[in-house]
Symmetry: C2
Subunit: 299 residues, 2 copies
Protein backbone atom coordinates (compact mmCIF):
# COMPACT_ATOMS: atom_id res chain seq x y z
CA UNK A 1 0.00 0.00 0.00
CA UNK A 2 1.65 3.27 -1.10
CA UNK A 3 1.54 6.16 1.34
CA UNK A 4 0.01 8.43 -1.29
CA UNK A 5 -2.89 6.02 -1.91
CA UNK A 6 -3.82 5.72 1.74
CA UNK A 7 -7.26 7.22 2.42
CA UNK A 8 -7.28 7.83 6.18
CA UNK A 9 -10.89 9.02 6.47
CA UNK A 10 -12.22 5.84 4.87
CA UNK A 11 -9.81 3.68 6.86
CA UNK A 12 -10.86 5.25 10.14
CA UNK A 13 -14.61 5.19 9.52
CA UNK A 14 -14.49 1.54 8.39
CA UNK A 15 -12.50 0.56 11.48
CA UNK A 16 -14.94 2.43 13.72
CA UNK A 17 -17.86 0.62 12.06
CA UNK A 18 -16.20 -2.75 12.59
CA UNK A 19 -15.49 -1.98 16.24
CA UNK A 20 -19.06 -0.71 16.80
CA UNK A 21 -20.49 -3.94 15.38
CA UNK A 22 -18.31 -6.03 17.67
CA UNK A 23 -19.07 -3.89 20.72
CA UNK A 24 -22.82 -4.25 20.15
CA UNK A 25 -22.38 -8.01 20.58
CA UNK A 26 -19.86 -7.79 23.43
CA UNK A 27 -22.12 -7.65 26.48
CA UNK A 28 -24.08 -10.91 26.69
CA UNK A 29 -27.74 -11.12 27.72
CA UNK A 30 -27.82 -10.98 31.52
CA UNK A 31 -30.35 -11.99 34.15
CA UNK A 32 -29.56 -8.62 35.73
CA UNK A 33 -31.15 -6.71 32.86
CA UNK A 34 -30.60 -3.27 34.37
CA UNK A 35 -26.89 -4.05 34.54
CA UNK A 36 -26.80 -5.06 30.87
CA UNK A 37 -28.65 -1.85 29.92
CA UNK A 38 -26.18 0.30 31.86
CA UNK A 39 -23.15 -1.48 30.40
CA UNK A 40 -24.50 -1.07 26.85
CA UNK A 41 -25.56 2.53 27.52
CA UNK A 42 -22.00 3.61 28.24
CA UNK A 43 -20.28 1.26 25.82
CA UNK A 44 -22.43 2.17 22.82
CA UNK A 45 -22.35 5.96 23.26
CA UNK A 46 -19.99 6.54 20.36
CA UNK A 47 -16.55 8.00 20.92
CA UNK A 48 -13.40 7.95 18.85
CA UNK A 49 -12.72 4.23 19.46
CA UNK A 50 -9.05 5.14 19.35
CA UNK A 51 -7.74 2.32 21.55
CA UNK A 52 -9.24 -0.60 19.59
CA UNK A 53 -8.11 1.02 16.34
CA UNK A 54 -4.58 1.24 17.76
CA UNK A 55 -4.64 -2.47 18.72
CA UNK A 56 -5.64 -3.41 15.17
CA UNK A 57 -3.20 -0.99 13.51
CA UNK A 58 -0.30 -2.26 15.63
CA UNK A 59 -1.12 -5.88 14.82
CA UNK A 60 -1.35 -5.08 11.11
CA UNK A 61 1.93 -3.16 11.15
CA UNK A 62 3.45 -6.39 12.53
CA UNK A 63 1.87 -8.54 9.83
CA UNK A 64 -1.27 -9.94 11.49
CA UNK A 65 -4.79 -9.43 10.12
CA UNK A 66 -6.88 -6.89 12.08
CA UNK A 67 -9.71 -9.40 12.58
CA UNK A 68 -7.44 -11.77 14.50
CA UNK A 69 -7.14 -9.22 17.31
CA UNK A 70 -10.72 -7.87 17.30
CA UNK A 71 -11.70 -9.32 20.72
CA UNK A 72 -8.66 -7.71 22.34
CA UNK A 73 -9.32 -4.46 20.47
CA UNK A 74 -12.82 -4.48 21.99
CA UNK A 75 -11.36 -5.32 25.40
CA UNK A 76 -9.35 -2.07 25.35
CA UNK A 77 -12.42 0.01 24.50
CA UNK A 78 -14.45 -1.81 27.15
CA UNK A 79 -11.77 -1.19 29.74
CA UNK A 80 -11.55 2.48 28.72
CA UNK A 81 -15.34 2.77 29.08
CA UNK A 82 -15.29 1.31 32.61
CA UNK A 83 -12.67 3.91 33.59
CA UNK A 84 -14.86 6.75 32.27
CA UNK A 85 -17.89 5.47 34.22
CA UNK A 86 -15.96 5.25 37.49
CA UNK A 87 -14.10 8.56 36.94
CA UNK A 88 -17.43 10.33 36.42
CA UNK A 89 -18.89 9.10 39.75
CA UNK A 90 -19.90 11.69 42.37
CA UNK A 91 -17.11 10.54 44.70
CA UNK A 92 -14.57 11.04 41.89
CA UNK A 93 -14.78 13.79 39.23
CA UNK A 94 -18.58 14.16 39.64
CA UNK A 95 -19.37 14.74 35.96
CA UNK A 96 -22.91 14.89 34.57
CA UNK A 97 -22.12 14.78 30.87
CA UNK A 98 -20.10 12.30 28.84
CA UNK A 99 -20.07 11.86 25.07
CA UNK A 100 -22.97 14.31 24.87
CA UNK A 101 -25.25 12.30 27.17
CA UNK A 102 -25.90 12.01 30.90
CA UNK A 103 -23.16 10.02 32.59
CA UNK A 104 -23.99 6.45 33.63
CA UNK A 105 -24.78 7.28 37.27
CA UNK A 106 -27.07 10.12 36.09
CA UNK A 107 -28.91 7.94 33.57
CA UNK A 108 -29.18 5.03 36.07
CA UNK A 109 -27.93 5.43 39.63
CA UNK A 110 -24.66 5.28 41.51
CA UNK A 111 -24.80 1.60 42.49
CA UNK A 112 -25.64 0.56 38.93
CA UNK A 113 -22.81 2.70 37.54
CA UNK A 114 -20.27 1.18 39.93
CA UNK A 115 -21.43 -2.32 38.96
CA UNK A 116 -21.55 -1.51 35.23
CA UNK A 117 -17.93 -0.39 35.50
CA UNK A 118 -16.96 -3.50 37.42
CA UNK A 119 -18.76 -5.68 34.88
CA UNK A 120 -17.03 -4.01 31.93
CA UNK A 121 -13.59 -4.25 33.56
CA UNK A 122 -14.15 -7.96 34.09
CA UNK A 123 -15.56 -8.44 30.58
CA UNK A 124 -12.39 -6.95 29.08
CA UNK A 125 -10.33 -9.78 30.53
CA UNK A 126 -12.86 -12.37 29.42
CA UNK A 127 -12.61 -11.11 25.83
CA UNK A 128 -8.79 -11.21 25.85
CA UNK A 129 -8.91 -14.75 27.19
CA UNK A 130 -11.26 -15.71 24.37
CA UNK A 131 -8.89 -14.12 21.82
CA UNK A 132 -6.49 -17.00 22.49
CA UNK A 133 -8.77 -19.28 20.47
CA UNK A 134 -8.42 -17.23 17.25
CA UNK A 135 -6.36 -18.72 14.44
CA UNK A 136 -2.76 -17.53 14.47
CA UNK A 137 -2.97 -16.07 17.99
CA UNK A 138 -2.81 -18.85 20.59
CA UNK A 139 -2.83 -18.96 24.36
CA UNK A 140 0.69 -17.67 25.04
CA UNK A 141 0.17 -14.44 23.09
CA UNK A 142 -3.31 -13.86 24.55
CA UNK A 143 -2.04 -14.44 28.08
CA UNK A 144 0.79 -11.96 27.54
CA UNK A 145 -1.68 -9.41 26.11
CA UNK A 146 -3.83 -9.92 29.21
CA UNK A 147 -0.82 -9.24 31.44
CA UNK A 148 0.03 -6.12 29.43
CA UNK A 149 -3.53 -4.82 29.82
CA UNK A 150 -3.67 -5.61 33.55
CA UNK A 151 -0.41 -3.77 34.29
CA UNK A 152 -1.48 -0.73 32.30
CA UNK A 153 -4.93 -0.61 33.88
CA UNK A 154 -4.03 -1.24 37.53
CA UNK A 155 -2.33 0.55 40.40
CA UNK A 156 0.86 1.15 38.42
CA UNK A 157 -1.17 2.53 35.50
CA UNK A 158 -4.63 3.96 35.04
CA UNK A 159 -6.08 3.37 38.51
CA UNK A 160 -2.91 4.76 40.09
CA UNK A 161 -3.04 7.77 37.77
CA UNK A 162 -6.62 8.54 38.77
CA UNK A 163 -5.61 8.33 42.44
CA UNK A 164 -2.68 10.74 41.86
CA UNK A 165 -5.02 13.03 39.93
CA UNK A 166 -7.53 13.14 42.82
CA UNK A 167 -4.74 13.76 45.31
CA UNK A 168 -3.37 16.61 43.19
CA UNK A 169 -6.70 18.49 43.33
CA UNK A 170 -6.32 21.76 45.16
CA UNK A 171 -2.55 21.35 45.37
CA UNK A 172 0.12 22.96 43.22
CA UNK A 173 1.26 20.35 40.73
CA UNK A 174 4.42 21.00 38.75
CA UNK A 175 5.21 19.75 35.28
CA UNK A 176 6.81 16.51 36.52
CA UNK A 177 3.78 15.69 38.72
CA UNK A 178 1.53 16.38 35.75
CA UNK A 179 3.59 14.06 33.56
CA UNK A 180 3.39 11.29 36.20
CA UNK A 181 -0.39 11.60 36.37
CA UNK A 182 -0.89 11.60 32.62
CA UNK A 183 1.56 8.87 31.76
CA UNK A 184 -0.22 6.61 34.26
CA UNK A 185 -3.80 7.75 33.64
CA UNK A 186 -3.85 8.01 29.84
CA UNK A 187 -0.50 7.05 28.39
CA UNK A 188 -0.29 3.59 29.94
CA UNK A 189 -3.46 2.30 28.28
CA UNK A 190 -2.70 3.80 24.86
CA UNK A 191 0.78 2.29 24.99
CA UNK A 192 -0.62 -1.05 26.14
CA UNK A 193 -3.07 -1.09 23.21
CA UNK A 194 -0.14 -0.88 20.81
CA UNK A 195 1.93 -3.38 22.78
CA UNK A 196 -0.95 -5.87 22.93
CA UNK A 197 -1.40 -5.60 19.16
CA UNK A 198 2.30 -6.34 18.70
CA UNK A 199 2.19 -9.24 21.17
CA UNK A 200 -0.81 -10.87 19.48
CA UNK A 201 0.91 -10.50 16.09
CA UNK A 202 4.01 -12.18 17.55
CA UNK A 203 6.14 -9.17 16.66
CA UNK A 204 9.92 -9.23 17.09
CA UNK A 205 11.17 -7.66 20.35
CA UNK A 206 12.54 -4.70 18.34
CA UNK A 207 9.16 -3.99 16.75
CA UNK A 208 7.38 -4.39 20.07
CA UNK A 209 9.77 -1.86 21.63
CA UNK A 210 9.30 0.53 18.70
CA UNK A 211 5.53 0.44 19.18
CA UNK A 212 5.88 1.01 22.92
CA UNK A 213 8.07 4.04 22.21
CA UNK A 214 5.56 5.34 19.65
CA UNK A 215 2.80 4.76 22.23
CA UNK A 216 4.53 6.81 24.92
CA UNK A 217 4.92 9.81 22.65
CA UNK A 218 1.40 9.37 21.32
CA UNK A 219 0.02 9.18 24.87
CA UNK A 220 1.65 12.43 25.90
CA UNK A 221 0.62 14.15 22.65
CA UNK A 222 -2.94 12.88 23.20
CA UNK A 223 -3.13 14.31 26.71
CA UNK A 224 -1.67 17.68 25.78
CA UNK A 225 -4.15 17.86 22.90
CA UNK A 226 -6.95 16.97 25.35
CA UNK A 227 -5.86 19.75 27.69
CA UNK A 228 -5.80 22.22 24.78
CA UNK A 229 -9.29 21.14 23.65
CA UNK A 230 -10.56 21.75 27.18
CA UNK A 231 -9.52 25.39 26.63
CA UNK A 232 -10.31 26.08 22.97
CA UNK A 233 -12.56 23.14 21.97
CA UNK A 234 -16.19 23.07 20.84
CA UNK A 235 -18.41 21.61 23.58
CA UNK A 236 -20.90 20.23 21.04
CA UNK A 237 -18.18 18.29 19.21
CA UNK A 238 -16.45 17.14 22.39
CA UNK A 239 -19.63 16.01 24.11
CA UNK A 240 -18.30 17.17 27.47
CA UNK A 241 -17.87 20.47 29.29
CA UNK A 242 -15.23 22.89 28.02
CA UNK A 243 -13.33 25.10 30.47
CA UNK A 244 -13.90 22.62 33.31
CA UNK A 245 -10.16 22.19 33.95
CA UNK A 246 -9.58 25.92 34.47
CA UNK A 247 -12.72 26.16 36.60
CA UNK A 248 -11.42 23.35 38.82
CA UNK A 249 -7.95 24.99 38.89
CA UNK A 250 -6.57 21.75 37.48
CA UNK A 251 -2.93 21.55 36.50
CA UNK A 252 -2.83 21.22 32.71
CA UNK A 253 -0.21 21.90 30.05
CA UNK A 254 -1.88 25.14 28.88
CA UNK A 255 -2.32 26.28 32.49
CA UNK A 256 1.31 25.59 33.40
CA UNK A 257 2.99 26.62 30.13
CA UNK A 258 0.49 28.57 28.04
CA UNK A 259 -1.32 27.46 24.88
CA UNK A 260 1.55 28.17 22.50
CA UNK A 261 4.09 26.11 24.45
CA UNK A 262 1.55 23.31 24.95
CA UNK A 263 1.01 23.16 21.19
CA UNK A 264 4.77 22.95 20.67
CA UNK A 265 5.00 20.02 23.08
CA UNK A 266 2.20 18.16 21.33
CA UNK A 267 3.90 18.62 17.97
CA UNK A 268 7.28 17.61 19.33
CA UNK A 269 5.83 14.42 20.77
CA UNK A 270 4.14 13.77 17.44
CA UNK A 271 7.50 14.13 15.68
CA UNK A 272 9.18 11.71 18.10
CA UNK A 273 6.30 9.23 17.77
CA UNK A 274 6.58 9.30 13.98
CA UNK A 275 10.35 8.73 14.22
CA UNK A 276 9.75 5.59 16.27
CA UNK A 277 7.72 4.16 13.37
CA UNK A 278 10.64 4.24 10.94
CA UNK A 279 11.31 0.45 11.02
CA UNK A 280 7.78 -0.21 9.75
CA UNK A 281 8.17 1.54 6.39
CA UNK A 282 4.91 1.89 4.48
CA UNK A 283 3.20 -0.65 6.80
CA UNK A 284 3.41 2.06 9.47
CA UNK A 285 1.35 4.57 7.46
CA UNK A 286 -1.95 4.04 9.32
CA UNK A 287 -0.15 4.52 12.65
CA UNK A 288 1.46 7.72 11.31
CA UNK A 289 -1.90 9.09 10.28
CA UNK A 290 -3.43 8.05 13.60
CA UNK A 291 -0.75 10.04 15.42
CA UNK A 292 -1.53 13.14 13.38
CA UNK A 293 -5.24 12.62 13.99
CA UNK A 294 -4.65 12.45 17.75
CA UNK A 295 -2.85 15.80 17.79
CA UNK A 296 -4.99 17.62 15.24
CA UNK A 297 -8.46 16.32 16.19
CA UNK A 298 -11.23 18.67 17.28
CA UNK A 299 -13.05 16.17 19.53
CA UNK B 1 -2.46 -40.02 53.24
CA UNK B 2 -5.05 -41.98 55.22
CA UNK B 3 -8.28 -40.17 56.06
CA UNK B 4 -7.80 -40.96 59.74
CA UNK B 5 -4.35 -39.34 59.79
CA UNK B 6 -5.50 -36.08 58.23
CA UNK B 7 -5.22 -33.18 60.69
CA UNK B 8 -7.55 -30.55 59.27
CA UNK B 9 -6.76 -27.81 61.81
CA UNK B 10 -3.05 -27.93 61.02
CA UNK B 11 -3.71 -28.20 57.28
CA UNK B 12 -5.98 -25.15 57.31
CA UNK B 13 -3.79 -22.94 59.48
CA UNK B 14 -0.69 -23.75 57.40
CA UNK B 15 -2.53 -22.94 54.19
CA UNK B 16 -3.81 -19.68 55.63
CA UNK B 17 -0.26 -18.77 56.66
CA UNK B 18 1.05 -19.51 53.17
CA UNK B 19 -1.69 -17.43 51.55
CA UNK B 20 -1.13 -14.54 53.99
CA UNK B 21 2.56 -14.48 53.14
CA UNK B 22 1.82 -14.37 49.43
CA UNK B 23 -0.88 -11.71 49.83
CA UNK B 24 1.50 -9.45 51.78
CA UNK B 25 3.71 -9.38 48.67
CA UNK B 26 0.88 -9.17 46.14
CA UNK B 27 0.33 -5.41 45.88
CA UNK B 28 3.50 -3.81 44.47
CA UNK B 29 4.90 -0.49 45.69
CA UNK B 30 2.91 2.24 43.96
CA UNK B 31 3.52 5.92 43.24
CA UNK B 32 -0.05 6.40 44.44
CA UNK B 33 0.83 5.46 48.00
CA UNK B 34 -2.64 6.08 49.42
CA UNK B 35 -4.00 3.57 46.89
CA UNK B 36 -1.45 0.95 47.94
CA UNK B 37 -2.33 1.53 51.61
CA UNK B 38 -6.04 1.12 50.92
CA UNK B 39 -5.53 -2.04 48.83
CA UNK B 40 -3.35 -3.60 51.56
CA UNK B 41 -5.73 -2.43 54.31
CA UNK B 42 -8.59 -4.46 52.89
CA UNK B 43 -6.55 -7.35 51.56
CA UNK B 44 -4.59 -7.95 54.78
CA UNK B 45 -7.54 -7.76 57.19
CA UNK B 46 -7.63 -11.49 57.83
CA UNK B 47 -10.63 -13.56 56.84
CA UNK B 48 -11.08 -17.26 56.21
CA UNK B 49 -9.10 -17.24 52.94
CA UNK B 50 -11.47 -19.94 51.77
CA UNK B 51 -11.25 -19.26 48.03
CA UNK B 52 -7.44 -19.53 47.69
CA UNK B 53 -7.48 -22.64 49.86
CA UNK B 54 -10.09 -24.15 47.53
CA UNK B 55 -7.93 -23.36 44.47
CA UNK B 56 -4.97 -25.14 46.04
CA UNK B 57 -7.03 -28.08 47.34
CA UNK B 58 -8.63 -28.62 43.92
CA UNK B 59 -5.25 -28.54 42.18
CA UNK B 60 -3.82 -31.02 44.69
CA UNK B 61 -6.80 -33.35 44.35
CA UNK B 62 -5.96 -33.39 40.63
CA UNK B 63 -2.28 -34.14 41.24
CA UNK B 64 -0.61 -30.71 41.03
CA UNK B 65 1.45 -29.19 43.86
CA UNK B 66 -0.31 -26.40 45.75
CA UNK B 67 2.58 -23.98 45.18
CA UNK B 68 2.17 -24.19 41.40
CA UNK B 69 -1.21 -22.46 41.67
CA UNK B 70 -0.40 -19.96 44.44
CA UNK B 71 -0.65 -16.82 42.22
CA UNK B 72 -4.10 -17.87 41.03
CA UNK B 73 -5.13 -18.77 44.58
CA UNK B 74 -4.17 -15.22 45.60
CA UNK B 75 -6.03 -13.84 42.58
CA UNK B 76 -9.28 -15.36 43.88
CA UNK B 77 -8.82 -13.82 47.33
CA UNK B 78 -7.89 -10.47 45.77
CA UNK B 79 -10.96 -10.55 43.58
CA UNK B 80 -13.14 -11.49 46.56
CA UNK B 81 -11.67 -8.56 48.52
CA UNK B 82 -12.49 -6.09 45.72
CA UNK B 83 -16.08 -7.30 45.74
CA UNK B 84 -16.35 -6.73 49.50
CA UNK B 85 -14.97 -3.18 49.19
CA UNK B 86 -17.42 -2.24 46.44
CA UNK B 87 -20.39 -4.01 48.10
CA UNK B 88 -19.74 -2.04 51.31
CA UNK B 89 -19.86 1.37 49.55
CA UNK B 90 -22.53 3.89 50.60
CA UNK B 91 -24.28 3.57 47.21
CA UNK B 92 -24.44 -0.22 47.67
CA UNK B 93 -24.93 -2.00 51.02
CA UNK B 94 -23.53 0.97 53.01
CA UNK B 95 -21.68 -1.08 55.63
CA UNK B 96 -19.35 0.44 58.23
CA UNK B 97 -17.77 -2.73 59.58
CA UNK B 98 -15.96 -5.56 57.80
CA UNK B 99 -13.74 -8.24 59.31
CA UNK B 100 -13.96 -6.36 62.63
CA UNK B 101 -12.59 -3.09 61.24
CA UNK B 102 -13.96 0.02 59.53
CA UNK B 103 -14.77 -0.70 55.89
CA UNK B 104 -12.36 0.71 53.28
CA UNK B 105 -14.43 3.82 52.49
CA UNK B 106 -14.71 4.56 56.23
CA UNK B 107 -10.98 4.12 56.86
CA UNK B 108 -10.08 6.12 53.72
CA UNK B 109 -12.79 7.74 51.60
CA UNK B 110 -15.23 6.75 48.91
CA UNK B 111 -13.05 7.61 45.91
CA UNK B 112 -10.09 5.73 47.36
CA UNK B 113 -12.29 2.70 48.11
CA UNK B 114 -13.67 2.62 44.56
CA UNK B 115 -10.12 2.82 43.16
CA UNK B 116 -8.74 0.26 45.62
CA UNK B 117 -11.45 -2.14 44.44
CA UNK B 118 -10.69 -1.42 40.80
CA UNK B 119 -6.98 -1.89 41.44
CA UNK B 120 -7.52 -5.23 43.18
CA UNK B 121 -9.86 -6.52 40.47
CA UNK B 122 -7.22 -5.68 37.86
CA UNK B 123 -4.41 -7.16 39.97
CA UNK B 124 -6.25 -10.47 40.15
CA UNK B 125 -5.99 -10.86 36.38
CA UNK B 126 -2.35 -9.80 36.39
CA UNK B 127 -1.55 -12.55 38.92
CA UNK B 128 -3.34 -15.22 36.90
CA UNK B 129 -1.47 -14.13 33.79
CA UNK B 130 1.80 -14.44 35.70
CA UNK B 131 0.81 -17.95 36.87
CA UNK B 132 1.33 -19.12 33.29
CA UNK B 133 5.09 -18.90 33.83
CA UNK B 134 5.10 -21.45 36.69
CA UNK B 135 6.59 -24.87 35.97
CA UNK B 136 3.96 -27.41 34.96
CA UNK B 137 1.24 -24.81 34.37
CA UNK B 138 1.81 -23.03 31.05
CA UNK B 139 -0.05 -20.36 29.12
CA UNK B 140 -3.01 -22.40 27.90
CA UNK B 141 -4.06 -23.46 31.40
CA UNK B 142 -3.50 -19.99 32.87
CA UNK B 143 -5.51 -18.38 30.08
CA UNK B 144 -8.37 -20.81 30.66
CA UNK B 145 -8.24 -20.10 34.41
CA UNK B 146 -8.41 -16.39 33.62
CA UNK B 147 -11.49 -16.96 31.48
CA UNK B 148 -13.10 -19.05 34.24
CA UNK B 149 -12.47 -16.27 36.78
CA UNK B 150 -13.74 -13.53 34.45
CA UNK B 151 -17.00 -15.34 33.73
CA UNK B 152 -17.62 -16.05 37.40
CA UNK B 153 -16.82 -12.49 38.45
CA UNK B 154 -18.69 -10.55 35.75
CA UNK B 155 -22.24 -9.75 34.75
CA UNK B 156 -23.21 -13.42 34.53
CA UNK B 157 -21.71 -14.06 37.95
CA UNK B 158 -20.79 -11.97 40.97
CA UNK B 159 -21.43 -8.48 39.58
CA UNK B 160 -24.77 -9.63 38.16
CA UNK B 161 -25.67 -11.24 41.50
CA UNK B 162 -24.97 -8.01 43.39
CA UNK B 163 -27.19 -6.14 40.91
CA UNK B 164 -30.02 -8.66 41.40
CA UNK B 165 -29.53 -8.41 45.16
CA UNK B 166 -29.84 -4.60 45.10
CA UNK B 167 -32.93 -4.82 42.89
CA UNK B 168 -34.51 -7.36 45.26
CA UNK B 169 -34.27 -4.93 48.19
CA UNK B 170 -37.70 -3.97 49.45
CA UNK B 171 -39.38 -6.48 47.13
CA UNK B 172 -40.72 -9.90 47.97
CA UNK B 173 -38.17 -12.43 46.78
CA UNK B 174 -39.18 -16.08 46.59
CA UNK B 175 -36.91 -19.07 47.01
CA UNK B 176 -36.04 -19.25 43.30
CA UNK B 177 -35.10 -15.55 43.17
CA UNK B 178 -32.97 -16.07 46.25
CA UNK B 179 -31.22 -19.02 44.65
CA UNK B 180 -30.51 -16.97 41.50
CA UNK B 181 -28.97 -14.18 43.55
CA UNK B 182 -26.81 -16.46 45.65
CA UNK B 183 -25.63 -18.76 42.91
CA UNK B 184 -24.43 -15.68 40.99
CA UNK B 185 -23.18 -13.61 43.92
CA UNK B 186 -21.40 -16.26 45.99
CA UNK B 187 -21.61 -19.65 44.32
CA UNK B 188 -20.07 -18.65 41.01
CA UNK B 189 -16.75 -17.54 42.52
CA UNK B 190 -16.44 -20.52 44.88
CA UNK B 191 -17.14 -22.87 41.98
CA UNK B 192 -14.68 -20.99 39.77
CA UNK B 193 -11.96 -21.33 42.44
CA UNK B 194 -12.33 -25.11 42.27
CA UNK B 195 -12.57 -25.14 38.48
CA UNK B 196 -9.48 -22.94 38.12
CA UNK B 197 -7.53 -25.29 40.40
CA UNK B 198 -8.59 -28.21 38.22
CA UNK B 199 -7.73 -26.35 35.00
CA UNK B 200 -4.25 -25.38 36.21
CA UNK B 201 -3.63 -29.00 37.26
CA UNK B 202 -4.70 -30.14 33.78
CA UNK B 203 -7.42 -32.34 35.26
CA UNK B 204 -9.45 -34.71 33.09
CA UNK B 205 -12.84 -33.31 31.95
CA UNK B 206 -14.58 -35.75 34.34
CA UNK B 207 -12.61 -34.50 37.35
CA UNK B 208 -13.14 -30.89 36.34
CA UNK B 209 -16.90 -31.54 36.15
CA UNK B 210 -16.87 -33.31 39.50
CA UNK B 211 -15.20 -30.30 41.13
CA UNK B 212 -17.68 -27.91 39.51
CA UNK B 213 -20.53 -30.02 40.88
CA UNK B 214 -18.92 -30.08 44.34
CA UNK B 215 -18.48 -26.29 44.06
CA UNK B 216 -22.14 -25.65 43.30
CA UNK B 217 -23.29 -27.60 46.34
CA UNK B 218 -20.58 -26.03 48.47
CA UNK B 219 -21.58 -22.54 47.30
CA UNK B 220 -25.20 -23.03 48.26
CA UNK B 221 -24.26 -24.63 51.59
CA UNK B 222 -21.91 -21.70 52.23
CA UNK B 223 -24.59 -19.11 51.61
CA UNK B 224 -27.24 -20.86 53.72
CA UNK B 225 -24.68 -21.15 56.53
CA UNK B 226 -23.93 -17.42 56.13
CA UNK B 227 -27.62 -16.60 56.38
CA UNK B 228 -27.91 -18.75 59.52
CA UNK B 229 -24.86 -17.05 61.08
CA UNK B 230 -26.48 -13.68 60.44
CA UNK B 231 -29.29 -14.86 62.75
CA UNK B 232 -27.52 -16.91 65.43
CA UNK B 233 -23.83 -15.96 65.01
CA UNK B 234 -21.45 -14.19 67.36
CA UNK B 235 -20.71 -10.66 66.13
CA UNK B 236 -17.22 -10.68 67.67
CA UNK B 237 -16.24 -13.84 65.79
CA UNK B 238 -17.90 -12.79 62.53
CA UNK B 239 -16.42 -9.28 62.51
CA UNK B 240 -19.63 -7.89 61.01
CA UNK B 241 -23.07 -6.99 62.24
CA UNK B 242 -25.43 -9.81 63.22
CA UNK B 243 -29.16 -9.46 62.63
CA UNK B 244 -28.60 -7.00 59.76
CA UNK B 245 -30.45 -9.19 57.24
CA UNK B 246 -33.64 -9.32 59.33
CA UNK B 247 -33.36 -5.60 60.05
CA UNK B 248 -33.15 -4.88 56.30
CA UNK B 249 -36.03 -7.34 55.66
CA UNK B 250 -33.67 -9.23 53.36
CA UNK B 251 -34.83 -12.48 51.84
CA UNK B 252 -32.70 -15.22 53.40
CA UNK B 253 -33.10 -18.97 53.86
CA UNK B 254 -33.98 -18.69 57.58
CA UNK B 255 -36.42 -15.84 56.83
CA UNK B 256 -38.17 -17.75 54.05
CA UNK B 257 -38.05 -21.27 55.52
CA UNK B 258 -37.15 -21.02 59.21
CA UNK B 259 -33.88 -21.95 60.89
CA UNK B 260 -34.58 -25.67 61.10
CA UNK B 261 -35.35 -26.06 57.40
CA UNK B 262 -32.37 -23.85 56.46
CA UNK B 263 -30.08 -26.11 58.48
CA UNK B 264 -31.50 -29.15 56.68
CA UNK B 265 -30.78 -27.56 53.31
CA UNK B 266 -27.19 -26.76 54.28
CA UNK B 267 -26.64 -30.35 55.38
CA UNK B 268 -28.28 -31.76 52.29
CA UNK B 269 -26.04 -29.66 50.05
CA UNK B 270 -23.06 -30.81 52.10
CA UNK B 271 -24.06 -34.42 51.51
CA UNK B 272 -24.40 -33.86 47.75
CA UNK B 273 -21.08 -32.02 47.63
CA UNK B 274 -19.34 -34.90 49.40
CA UNK B 275 -20.90 -37.38 46.97
CA UNK B 276 -19.42 -35.44 44.04
CA UNK B 277 -15.95 -36.02 45.49
CA UNK B 278 -16.19 -39.82 45.26
CA UNK B 279 -13.88 -40.15 42.21
CA UNK B 280 -11.03 -38.53 44.15
CA UNK B 281 -10.73 -41.22 46.84
CA UNK B 282 -8.43 -40.27 49.69
CA UNK B 283 -6.97 -37.37 47.63
CA UNK B 284 -10.35 -35.68 48.12
CA UNK B 285 -10.10 -35.69 51.93
CA UNK B 286 -9.05 -32.01 52.31
CA UNK B 287 -11.97 -30.96 50.11
CA UNK B 288 -14.34 -33.10 52.20
CA UNK B 289 -13.15 -31.48 55.38
CA UNK B 290 -13.36 -28.04 53.80
CA UNK B 291 -17.01 -28.67 52.94
CA UNK B 292 -17.76 -29.64 56.54
CA UNK B 293 -15.90 -26.57 57.76
CA UNK B 294 -17.98 -24.33 55.49
CA UNK B 295 -21.26 -25.63 56.91
CA UNK B 296 -20.19 -25.96 60.54
CA UNK B 297 -18.06 -22.81 60.95
CA UNK B 298 -18.94 -20.12 63.48
CA UNK B 299 -17.41 -17.20 61.53
Amino acid sequence: MGAAAFDFETYYSRRVARVERALRAAVPALKARRLKRAMDYSLLAGGKRLRPILVMAAAEACGAPADAVLPTACAFEILHTYSLIHDDLPAMDDDDLRRGRPTCHKAFDEATAILAGDGLLTLAFELIARNGARAGVGAAAALEASRVLARAAGGEGMVGGQMLDLEAEGRRTGLSGLKDIHSAKTGALLTAALEAGAVLAKATPARRRALVSYGRHLGLAFQVADDILNVVGDQAKLGKRVGSDAQAHKATYPALLGLQKAREIAHNELRLGLAALKPFGSAGEPLRRLARFVVERDR
